[in-house]
């Protein structure tokens, strides 16, 4: 490895290299360049997003751990919910099966490294054109990867999103969230501290896989005269399951000081981040790392992204007990270094290869003084151009409804969920199709944990600020619609190249919007990741913030799902219908592009609406709850009917707004409820509550037993569809098997 090549592969700019030389007052070694390249990357260092992330709300009454650890933590009673979402977009675009599988593996390790048993996975997936061969190939591979990996580890995949939108054609988004549960006093931090403590490596051996991507690895390997080989990381879920059990046992028995998984930039990032948190100097003997291949260099050891590896800080007196646990699970292990100083203001990382020092760097600048990039904000012109809606043609409203129900963005995801073991651990309280998220019981208590992910690239493209707010609002609305209170969020920031004005503007505004919604909804940010440079041939993806929210309900027996319960029940809407068709799935489908004005969102109204629905559920005043989102009111009511398995609905709407928008517009802050028809006392309180939260309640129809979905506007029938037709459309499988 020459210096020039190391510069090239580091991804560092000329200015950044100069900065490093100034800082060190010498030229960095090849290995040091690798270390800087890794830690100053967007993935580890957030150099493009940190200035905005700093402004996000990260504290609150439920927050135990904000950003900065392996994952965020919120708490209730004696329990800690540990959660995080991460992207694996680029690996999944190259090799969908392994890319998705290793994405699952990575996020799982973040959760159990903190001492939490992973109890649920949620996947937020976005693909390109519905009809392209490539999309089908990617969908098949990604779902198989998630299925094979998650099922083997025994963590249920309980909810998620599956979105098809042309802009993701070359660049699919695979965002995976994991939620874990621990006792508050059982949380383990990722720190290296205590002079003389050992740095203990366990899990799989280290190979040359994942060395900065395919191009780099093959070039590198051929230059060394070795066989070319695929450099995609390969997951091994069996080993993952073993390191999961071993890690939980180590933490439970209090045998370790700190634990971190080796994710991006492997040994480098895990050891440096742990040492930086502990403000302690660490020394690594890189030759001690268990190697899968011969003649690996320090550079390769430092930057390998071999999967299923962990690093722990261990007191010397505990070492034998630690090894006993690791041996029980028949895992490779080695002491690869030590904490070499007490807590200090100037911690360093020192790496030796065959006794020779190859890395000797101050940690502070490496981890904390990442160069940050704040660029000029230039409002892209397209934002004005997209407002005008072109003429478009639609079939009959009934046909539109059936087409939307069978659109893979809306249709039942049963064909996906049935490939995931969503029942394992026996905590999931309703099948995944029944809600905008999932509700899990906490065994031995009455508490339930609600989980949801949401994001909308269409809205964020049309209005980045509102789109950012909306992602938080809907993720939290899904939580509230199950009856739980949102406690916190995690997010994946999926954007194009931040060095270009348009994606940069989108990113800054969307993150601002997200922050505002988090503040108002009292759902602080506990972490997440940024995936930038999502472009194909210079065209960025739709800007997409994916928000993963978690919430808690006091009594899970009260949790609410969307299927209608009883014929004769009244149906009402909370919120207001507006003339907003822009950005809707309907318009995107029939106008052929993402266009129009983004639906407005008044975040104060949203806050009151969510408080109201939680109160209604807690007081058991409603039989079903469904938020109105993709496909609008007509689709929402159809989903309630379809998921009831047997009941229909009859609506008569009175609004004076264009019919397309009334039926299929995606105006925010609206929820459909059903409630008993002849319980006047109940209805009186229900109405009072709506008044006290200042949310309009409109009675719009009733649940029927005649297996039909009938929607009238001012008495005129616009849609009259049989339930069987609706069910058939809704059960359309994107991939038949």
């Amino acid at each position: 490895m020459t210096f020039e090549r190391a510069v090239e592969f580091s991804g560092l700019s000329k200015n950044e290299i100069q900065l490093i030389e100034k800082l060190l007052e010498r030229k960095p070694t090849v290995e040091e360049l690798g270390v800087f390249g890794a830690l100053w990357s967007e993935h580890c260092g957030y150099k493009n997003t940190k200035p905005m992330l700093k402004k996000l709300p990260t504290t609150g009454r439920h927050i135990i751990q904000g950003p900065g650890e392996n994952a965020g933590v919120v708490g209730f009673d004696d329990y800690a919910i540990v959660f995080k979402i991460e992207s694996h977009n680029h690996p999944s675009a190259v090799e969908p099966y392994e890319g998705a599988a290793t994405g699952v593996g990575g996020i799982l390790r973040d959760i159990f490294a903190m001492g939490a048993m992973p109890i649920a996975m949620v996947d937020s997936l976005r693909f390109g054109r519905r009809d392209s061969k490539r999309t089908r190939y990617l969908v098949g591979g990604v779902i198989a990867g998630i299925s094979d990996y998650g099922n083997r580890v025994g963590v249920p995949t309980v909810a998620g999103e599956l979105v098809f939108e042309d802009s993701y054609e070359g660049n699919p988004l695979v965002n995976v969230m994991c939620v874990g549960l621990a006792k508050k006093d059982g949380i383990c931090k990722a720190t290296a501290i205590g002079e003389g403590n050992l740095l203990f490596y366990y899990g799989s051996k280290t190979g040359r896989d994942g060395l900065g991507g395919a191009t780099f690895a093959s070039a590198e390997l051929s230059s060394e005269g070795e066989d070319k080989r695929p450099s995609v990381q390969v997951g091994d879920a069996f080993t993952e399951k073993l390191i999961l059990e071993a890690t939980l046992e180590l933490i439970d028995k209090k045998l370790v000081v700190g634990v971190q998984d080796m994710g991006a930039a492997g040994i480098t990032s895990s050891s440096c981040e742990m040492a930086a948190r502990g403000n302690s100097t660490i020394e690594l003997d890189i030759d001690k790392v268990p190697a899968r291949e011969q003649n690996m260099s320090a550079y390769e050891f430092l930057l390998s992204e071999s999967q299923e590896r962990m690093l722990a800080t261990v007191e010397p007196k505990m070492l034998n007990k630690v090894i006993e646990v690791i041996n029980k699970y028949e895992l490779d292990h080695a002491v690869i270094g030590k904490v070499a100083s007490p807590v200090t203001d100037n911690p360093r990382v020192i790496v030796r290869e065959h006794g020779k020092t190859v890395v000797d760097l101050p940690l502070r600048p490496l981890v904390h003084d990442v160069p940050l990039y704040v660029r000029d904000m230039i409002r892209p012109e397209y934002l004005d151009q997209v407002k005008k809606i072109p003429d478009y043609k639609i079939p009959s409203y009934k046909q539109v409804l059936l087409e939307l129900l069978s659109d893979p963005n809306i249709a039942s995801k049963e064909w996906v969920y049935e490939r995931y073991d969503h029942h394992v651990q026996t905590n999931l309280l309703a099948e995944p199709v029944m809600a905008g998220g999932a509700m899990l019981r906490v065994k031995g208590t009455t508490k339930g944990i609600a989980i949801s992910t949401d994001g909308n690239g269409r809205y964020t493209y049309l209005d980045p600020y509102t789109g950012g707010m909306q992602a938080v609002a809907e993720a939290c609305r899904n939580i509230s619609c199950m009856g739980a209170e949102p406690y916190g969020i995690t997010n994946c920031l999926n954007f194009g190249n931040p060095e270009k004005p348009m994606p940069y503007y989108q990113m800054v505004k969307a993150i601002e919007g997200m922050g505002e919604a988090c503040r108002k909804l009292e759902a602080p940010v506990t972490g997440g990741n940024a995936s930038l440079y999502n472009e194909t041939d210079g065209e960025p993806i739709l800007p997409t913030i994916v928000v993963g929210a978690v919430g808690v309900i006091d009594d899970y027996n009260l949790s609410m799902f969307n299927g209608f319960k009883k014929a004769g029940d009244k149906i009402a809407m909370l919120g207001t219908n507006k003339n907003e068709i822009g950005g809707s799935l309907f318009l995107t489908k029939y106008a052929g592009k993402v266009i129009g004005e983004c639906p407005s969102l008044d975040i104060d109204t949203e806050v009151r609406l969510q408080k109201l629905i939680r109160a209604l559920i807690a007081q058991q005043r409603v039989h079903s709850v469904q938020d109105i989102s993709d496909g609008g009111l007509a689709v929402a009511v159809s989903e309630c009917a379809v998921n009831s398995k047997r009941l229909g609905a009859s609506l008569d709407l009175q609004d004076d707004i264009p019919l397309d928008a009334l039926l299929f517009g995606e105006t925010q802050s609206r929820i459909l409820i059903s409630y008993p028809a002849n319980d006047k006392a109940n209805l009186d309180v229900l109405k009072e509550l709506c008044v006290s939260y200042d949310i309009p309640l409109t009675e719009i129809g009733e649940v029927t037993a005649d297996r039909k979905i009938v929607i009238r506007v001012k008495g005129k029938t616009l849609i009259d569809a049989g339930i069987d037709d609706a069910v058939k459309s809704y059960n359309t499988r994107y991939i038949e098997e």
């Binding site: 083997r152 580890v153 879920a237 399951k241 073993l242 049935e418 490939r419 995931y420 073991d421």
Partner: protein, 232 residues
């Protein structure tokens, strides 16, 4: 009366052990302990459960490596002495690989993992595992597997039929047993089968996932209650 004790076998890669443990302890209110695969002394146990998961990562074949585990010798002894053994999902595969029941496994006919609620027909109530059901009863117990295509033929098939060894068959809500209601292609839609002495049951569906109202079905509870009553 001595207290009834269950053991839940844990191989590396087993992942339904905690669920089975939970049902025995919190639903059945019986004593239960985990048995790590290297243990060989299980004389304290009255009932052995081999739970689902991916023992040894399902390397080679599902259940193929687990059968060589030290604990399996003791499980065979336990069964030979007439005590009950229940193998669920991967546990069923382990039983088949160990030769503790007749038959073998193939990949699902649809070749991918399938997790869903499943109707089953109780073929016989004449066993320690199904006494609490009645013959012909339709129950709903979830499945979750990629290799549930249980294969039985010739003399084994004849023996199983002649001796009432089939415990459950896949069916629909109306009790129809045919190719369209068979999720994995198993011979005769077999979802669960006994050994010749009927003290060993292997089944693909997960009764531990259908033993509490929270899980949407309590139809699996009868199985655990049947065992407890028979042994106790």
């Amino acid at each position: 009366m001595p207290k009834l004790k269950f053991g839940v076998i844990v191989f590396p890669g087993t992942n339904c052990d905690r669920d089975a443990f939970w049902v025995i302890e919190e639903v059945l209110y019986k004593d239960v302990r985990y048995v790590w695969h290297t243990e060989s002394d299980i004389d304290d146990l009255d009932v052995v459960i081999i739970p689902g998961g991916f023992s040894y990562g399902d390397h080679l074949r599902a259940g193929a490596i687990a059968r060589f585990s030290p604990v399996m010798k003791s499980v065979v002894k336990h069964a030979d002495s007439g005590k009950p053994v229940l193998g669920i999902c991967n546990g069923f595969q382990v039983l088949a690989e160990a030769g503790m029941i007749r038959g073998a496994f193939l990949r699902n006919k649809i070749v991918h993992f399938l997790c869903r609620h499943q109707h089953l027909k109780v073929v016989t109530a004449d066993s320690p595992f199904t006494a609490k059901y009645h013959k012909g009863q339709i129950v709903r117990i979830p499945i979750a597997h990629a290799e549930g295509n249980f294969f039985l033929e010739g003399d084994d098939m004849k023996y199983a039929l002649d001796h009432d060894l089939i415990a459950f068959q896949y069916c629909d809500a109306g009790g129809n047993v045919d190719d369209t209601t068979n999720p994995n292609g198993a011979s005769l839609s077999i979802a669960g089968i006994f050994n010749d002495k009927k003290n060993v049951l292997g089944m693909m569906p997960h009764p531990e996932r259908a033993s509490e109202t929270e899980m949407g079905s309590v139809d699996g509870r009868g199985l655990f209650e049947s065992i407890a009553e028979w042994v106790g």
